[in-house]
Symmetry: C2
Subunit: 395 residues, 2 copies
């Protein structure tokens, strides 16, 4: 997380119209420029009254002219009740609203007729929404770092705001590696596979609010990879540089591990992570730019993104919104390797239980595409019976 | 839902590059043009062997040249083991992989040295991912109507696809009504409030994949509202017309209900819904265009959208993806009116329980902006203790 704090601060902020700010993180605290509701208003269609004028056994009152929506009403005169619609301003002199269903008769008279209405006793404040009962003028409406969704931009509109200062998106360079990897659409010869990591991770990163630059596939030549990374990391020009480099593949202990070889001599560590899928992960800086080396299997890539990068972005940059985490019973028994935190793919079923999609294999991208959740099996778990509760992260 | 089936079919489809199709619904079934994995490959770094050549007490084998990634390996010769990396193609003649950790010595010899390795017994198929074990060529990969997220576009990339046929977004006309409603940014006089419904709903609709047209605020003149709706509904030209009209406000039983008045004589019903917030909802067709009349309070608008329109879009059009629904314990006791399904706003806490945000009032847009979930209290519930399980829809 500390790795991303610098770039997040350096990337800066911009002012956007509310709807363009959807999915961005607030750069500043927003205080309410007015109270909500701005004025005491009626919670129901009914009669605005002075509660002190109606004894326990009710009273008959003259019906005044109704309060039209969107205007400041005349003051309530003694002996009168004022027809009022939901949301309309409570007249001066009134302190309660009596719903129309409790009036006799239970409908509004035509305007400009000398009508009376019988109303039951009520207490001050009944069916009145006080000014500022949702938020008071000057109070903190949204704090810096809030990820803006429909409700948050809706609140700012209710406060009369039209634009907002948000953090600029972070820019990531995404490099997929491997001699065996071919761009989708090209011919697939023996021993080759199509690059799904690039599309999968770019999609996940875009949805998480990152600006993604793609380098194409880098083969297993460390010098070529280094040259590519230097071009992007070393521009020095803030607007053109990247805030983060993510590679896929070439991080394990095999004989042809291009990322591991290329990073030798740079400030990047390759740490074994006791997680399945996952395995070794590269982490550090390349020429000062935060660097993450994900494994080469597509499921490992997505799980690495969801477990490490996405939560760090939420915490440091405010976007994306954190995944909701909850507990759900297993629809079936599962096993998990001893000493490893297993992250399985699952589907939350309509009955609230969670079913596994595919086995533990990190190459099962079709099974991943059927899943809507990650299922967390802690490091000390080796087997769980059907019905056991597990932590579930919704995708 | 039947209301939306016609427009969804009529809107048609388009072919998009994978990443541009993110968030769209597949228009057709996608079958796998190749198997995944395309060829049997190794699950580990280790030695590819013919398991029949290694008796129960193990065997010493000559070490052949390694299988480079991304090539078709030479066939395994009798008496040999072939160094192989994770993901590399299993050579003809080999039927199992023995992980490097189980070999003696447990590291790969330099190429072109006459080395031997001692390997333990194994069984055919060990640490081999068979061709087609994730999906077989010709099998259904993704069904029509699937909402495309990172995993789904990642799968299509793994299958070598570069573009996909998706449903075009539906187009909605969003009209906020009310003499009391003012555009954010303008001056707020007594009795007026800022229009938050427009921003709130446009944001929610955009996130749900709708193309939103805004008319601005319509005042409480039914004739003006009718003229506005006719302009948009009646264009006749498919590309310019809207698939759905949504209005806010003007649907209750009060004296100034502009939507209700304007729809008199059209095929729109105003039905009381036993839901809080919510109340009356308009539903029908205006000049053949599906029409929904939402209530005027912002929280009611969002709840109406989430409870009625969004699930219908998911079911009929395939986008957005349905909200995950699960059960969580209440962090506090709640009460709910008898005879009404109450939809409260809540926050799913890190401990998995759900806390209420604000009271039941449908004007509490600041409380809504703190929430990340809708909490469903069924029609027959009047009170629930802390710890009771409720259905939670994550926002």
């Amino acid at each position: 997380m500390e790795l991303l704090a610098g770039p997040s601060a350096a990337r800066g902020t911009e002012r956007l119209p509310l709807l363009d700010a959807l999915g961005r993180a607030l750069a500043v605290d927003v205080h309410a420029p007015l109270s909500l509701p701005p004025f005491a208003n009626s919670q129901m269609d009914g009669f605005a009254v002075n509660s002190a004028e109606i004894p326990d056994d009710g009273a008959e009152l003259w019906v005044a002219d109704p309060v039209p929506a969107g205007t400041a009403p005349d003051a309530l005169k003694p002996g009168f009740a004022i027809p009022i619609m939901t949301g309309a301003m409570i007249p001066v002199g009134a302190d309660a609203v009596i719903p129309i269903e409790r009036a006799v008769p239970d409908s509004f008279p035509k305007p400009n007729t000398d009508a009376v209405v019988r109303l039951p006793h009520t207490t001050a404040g009944s069916y009145v929404r006080p000014a500022g009962s949702d938020i008071a003028e000057g109070a903190l409406a949204l704090h810096a770092g809030t990820c803006l969704g429909p409700a948050q931009v809706g609140l700012m509109a209710a406060l009369g705001l039209t634009a907002v200062e948000v953090r600029k998106p972070l820019r990531v360079l995404l490099v997929t590696t491997g001699d065996e990897v071919v761009e989708p659409g090209r011919e697939l010869t023996d021993g080759k596979i199509y690059d799904s990591n690039g599309t999968l991770l770019e999609a996940a990163m875009r949805q998480a609010g990152l600006e993604v630059m793609r380098s194409g596939i880098s083969d297993d030549d460390p010098d070529a990879l280094l040259a590519l990374l230097r071009r992007h990391a070393g521009s020095g020009d803030q607007s053109g540089s990247v805030d983060l480099i993510v590679t896929t593949g070439g991080v394990s202990k095999g004989a042809y591990e291009v990322v591991r070889q290329a990073m030798a001599g740079h400030h990047v560590e390759f740490v074994p992570v006791a997680m399945q899928p996952g395995g070794p992960q590269g982490i550090g800086r390349f020429m000062g730019v935060p660097f993450l080396g994900f494994p080469g299997n597509p499921v490992s890539c997505l799980v690495s993104f969801e477990m490490f990068l996405r939560p760090a972005l939420s915490a440091v940059h405010g976007t994306p919104a954190p995944r909701p985490v909850h507990r759900a019973p297993l629809a079936e028994a599962v096993t998990s390797p001893s000493g490893k935190h297993q992250v399985r793919r699952g589907t939350l079923l309509p009955d609230g239980s969670v079913r596994m999609e595919g086995g533990a294999g990190s190459h099962l991208v079709h099974a991943l595409a059927r899943a809507n959740a990650l299922v967390q099996l802690p490091v000390d778990v080796t087997e769980l019976a059907a019905g056991a509760e597990v932590e579930v992260w919704m995708l």
